[in-house]
């Protein structure tokens, strides 16, 4: 490949990427449903549950979600004196063998009408059928395995984009906008990373000229970076989450890589920018979500409640809870009513438009590309059209 110019920006950044014209910002979703609602909610003694990891190995992710859920419930209860919803927390430790115990417990607790969870795909697979049999509705804020929706479980709803939508958009962006001819796809070992990488690789076709794999928790990437280096691709797509993406991108840039870096929503997080230490500059991020101004308030409130910044899947947890709370506000009393409510729900959330198909997948998932500019994530392009 050709080497152009001596770009010596502080954070690395791509030298040979074509300039991309940013789309105008979409109308901000000021109509986003918020947990507070209209303050007139009426309900009996009802509760919702968060089931997922709270302590244990992957606690960080669980706490991100749980705090989002807590924030939603708090805002709701503060605003609705007539409907005080209890939040019950169940710690599944993120593991398939602990989950059945707590899920059985949640199912037996008749006051629970809806569940936010479970956090991981593995545990979700393990207990999906139990929820289905009990008719207890679940909205997962983070489990991304595409197969989850194909089990025929009536109670399963996924509160975030299916990778199947995101992948073609990303591929289109890489080939049409970045005009990349050689792409390296780097995947982590999570379900999310593997699934997305597969789909992106397929969509890219022959352009995806190299594959690399990394592990969750890995922080040292010299060998991967070296392999990419010797391949000299125009772009790298990192399919995974930000904790690994940050050091990866940094080491990639430090090694002198000058192509474009693209990453999905798992990386679209302020933590990524903080952690990549300048190297995040110019990274393209895809997300099945709209740019949202509602985030500012959310972030502030979240910080106040949890004493730390919102992070991966915090807003998703918040949105999922909001939907369940909306149902409770209506005075729904049974699980069947609740299930029905969620099934037919339609509305804008903080992160996206919520409306589910019969499998429990979101139907209208807008996919936007973002870019890291001056240490901020700014919207770049609406890729929804590109794929439809």
């Amino acid at each position: 490949t050709d080497k152009t110019g001596e770009n010596k920006q502080s954070g690395g950044g791509q030298a040979n990427a074509p300039a991309i014209k940013a789309d105008p910002a979409p109308p901000l979703p000021d109509n986003a449903a918020l947990p507070a609602g209209d303050g007139k909610g009426k309900c009996g003694k009802v509760s919702i549950a968060y089931i997922g990891t709270i302590a244990g190995a992957s606690a960080a992710l669980g706490l991100n979600i749980l705090n989002g859920v807590k924030l939603a419930v708090k805002e709701h209860n503060d605003a609705n004196p007539g409907c005080q919803v209890t939040l019950k927390q169940f710690d599944s430790e993120g593991s398939p063998d602990k989950a059945p115990g707590v899920v059985t417990q949640a199912i037996n607790d008749k006051s629970i009408l809806g569940v936010v969870g479970l956090a991981f795909s593995g545990e979700s697979k393990a207990v999906g059928k139990a929820f289905n049999d009990a008719g207890l509705v679940t909205v997962t804020p983070s489990a991304t395995n595409p197969n989850l929706a194909k089990n025929g479980w009536k109670t399963f709803f996924r509160g975030l984009g299916n990778d199947a939508v995101q992948a073609p958009a990303v591929a289109a962006f890489i080939s049409d906008e970045l005009k990349a001819k050689k792409v390296c796809v780097v995947q982590d070992d999570s379900e999310y990373g593997i699934g997305l990488a597969d789909l992106v690789t397929k969509s890219l076709g022959s352009k995806a000229s190299c594959q690399q794999k990394v592990k969750t928790g890995q922080k040292e990437f010299s060998a991967v970076v070296g392999a990419i280096e010797s391949e000299k691709p125009d772009a790298v797509f990192y399919s995974g989450y930000y904790p690994e993406a940050a050091p990866f991108v940094q080491q990639l840039r430090d090694d002198g890589f000058e192509g474009s870096v693209v990453a999905p929503d798992g990386v679209r997080d302020d933590e990524f920018i903080k952690n990549a230490g300048g190297s995040a500059e110019g990274v393209y991020l895809s997300c099945p979500c709209l740019p949202s101004a509602g985030f500012t308030k959310f972030s502030k409130d979240f910080q106040a409640l949890a004493k730390r910044a919102p992070s991966t899947y915090s807003p998703e947890g918040y949105d999922a809870t909001t939907i369940l709370l909306k149902g409770l506000d209506k005075g729904l009393k049974t699980r069947a009513e609740m299930l029905n409510f969620v099934k037919n729900y339609q509305g804008q959330g903080l992160t996206k438009q919520f409306k589910w198909n019969s499998d429990g997948e979101l139907t209208e998932t807008p996919v936007w590309m973002y870019e890291v500019k001056d240490g901020k994530i700014v919207q770049l392009k609406d890729m929804t059209k590109a794929t439809s």
Binding site: A55, P100, G101, V102, T104, G122
Partner: protein, 386 residues
């Protein structure tokens, strides 16, 4: 006063440790009396799921019956690991590998996601096959590694345990994180035709596991009081000398490994069946180390002790879930504190190694049991070699 040799054995001012007193009391019973005590205890153990009441219940945090099953399952694992670690003294930090192999065999043989063509083998076939496969893998892993001593073995087994998990991660047919759904369960139905063994009903699982535990307890007890058990302890104490005393040490070490592996495989099958889903999670180093913790906490080498240890490791965290965020912190601290207060484990009694020991000791020293004299001053660094 007898002359020359021998020391006074009056207890003096020092009181015997608790575990010792319990054991002395137990050993001073006759066989019949022991049975009279043991049978009601066993009955009580079987009735536990019915006692879903205040001090015992783990609710509202988690389902009580499933919590019992999980504790029993860990108990089974601890029993298996105890053969390897407690009896033969082989520090196996990769025991989770056998557990994983058991679970995967069950999954491959019964799950619809399996690469086999018609994977619907009956559970009753799965159990022996899984145990056989784990035993074979025990031989395969043991043969190269068991020539190593002490902590070299520890790290190598840890490596092997990790490799089992990494293979599950990396080899496509093993489906990594995607895993296998709908793993087979034992046959049997309720009167109304619904299956007896389900994911959410812990009772049948618990009873099944307890039954396995009792059978294995008896079998392991037989082994312990035999040439085999003695060989294991001898190897644990001094491997060189054991070999010079005519013990084929390598063969017996492999046997210990294989027996442990079989039990690990069995518990893997139970695990896979109850959860109904197997993927690459939960087979990591930390889990493996928790297994070791159960054994050591209970009293390495003591069968009943390790069951207690498993109970502590598995049931207590379920029972006291007051503040989930602090649970593991509390767990870690509890481990430290427990070990400081009971450094020999909860039941740190030594094993009995002779099938007809009672009579022999009666004739030799006029008492049915070893005069234990647990020295408070065992020389450090010697003895109890890993």
């Amino acid at each position: 006063m007898s002359a020359g040799v021998g020391t006074q054995r009056d207890p003096g001012t020092v009181r015997a440790p608790f575990g010792q007193r319990v054991r002395d009391w137990w050993n001073s019973r006759s066989r019949a009396e022991q049975w009279m005590i043991a049978i009601p205890v066993v009955v009580l153990v079987y009735l536990l799921p019915m006692l879903n009441v205040f001090p015992l219940s783990t609710e509202p945090w988690t389902d009580y019956e499933l919590a019992l099953f999980n504790a029993a399952r860990l108990g089974l694992i601890a029993l298996g690991l105890n053969v390897v670690l407690g009896q033969a003294g082989l520090l196996d930090l990769g025991y989770v590998g056998f557990f994983a192999i058991g679970a995967y065999v069950a999954a491959i043989m019964t799950s619809r996601d399996s690469f086999l063509h018609n994977p619907h083998y009956s559970w009753l076939v799965v159990v022996p096959v899984a145990m056989a496969v784990t035993m074979i893998s025990g031989v395969l892993i043991g043969t190269p590694t068991l020539r190593l001593r002490g902590d070299y073995l520890a790290i190598v087994t840890l490596g092997f345990g990790e490799m089992v998990r990494l293979l599950a991660d990396n080899l496509d047919p093993l489906r990594g994180n995607r895993g296998f759904q709908d793993v087979g369960r034992p046959p049997g139905t309720h009167a109304d035709g619904s299956p007896l063994f389900t994911q959410t009903d812990g009772k049948p699982w618990y009873w099944l596991t307890v039954t396995f535990i009792i059978v294995i307890l008896l079998l392991i007890g037989n082994l312990e009081r035999s040439r085999v058990g003695r060989a294991w302890v001898a190897i644990r104490e001094d491997e060189d000398v054991a070999e010079l005393m005519g013990i084929p040490t390598f063969r017996f070490k492999v046997w210990a490994f294989v027996m442990g592996a079989a039990i690990g495989g069995l518990s893997g099958v139970l695990y896979a069946g109850q959860v109904g889903f197997v993927n690459n999670q939960r087979f990591d180093v930390v889990t493996s180390i928790l297994f070791v913790a159960a054994v050591v906490l209970g009293g390495s080498g003591n069968k009943v002790g390790v069951l207690l240890g498993a109970l502590v490791i598995s049931y207590l965290p379920d029972r006291f879930q007051l503040a989930p965020q602090y649970r593991f912190l509390a767990f870690g601290l509890a481990l430290i504190v427990l070990m400081i207060f009971r450094p020999q484990g909860l039941l740190g009694a030594r094993q009995r190694l002779l099938a007809r020991g009672r009579q022999a000791y009666q004739r030799l020293v006029g008492a049915p049991e070893p005069v234990s004299a647990d020295s408070a001053l065992t020389e450090q660094g010697k003895g109890g070699d890993l």
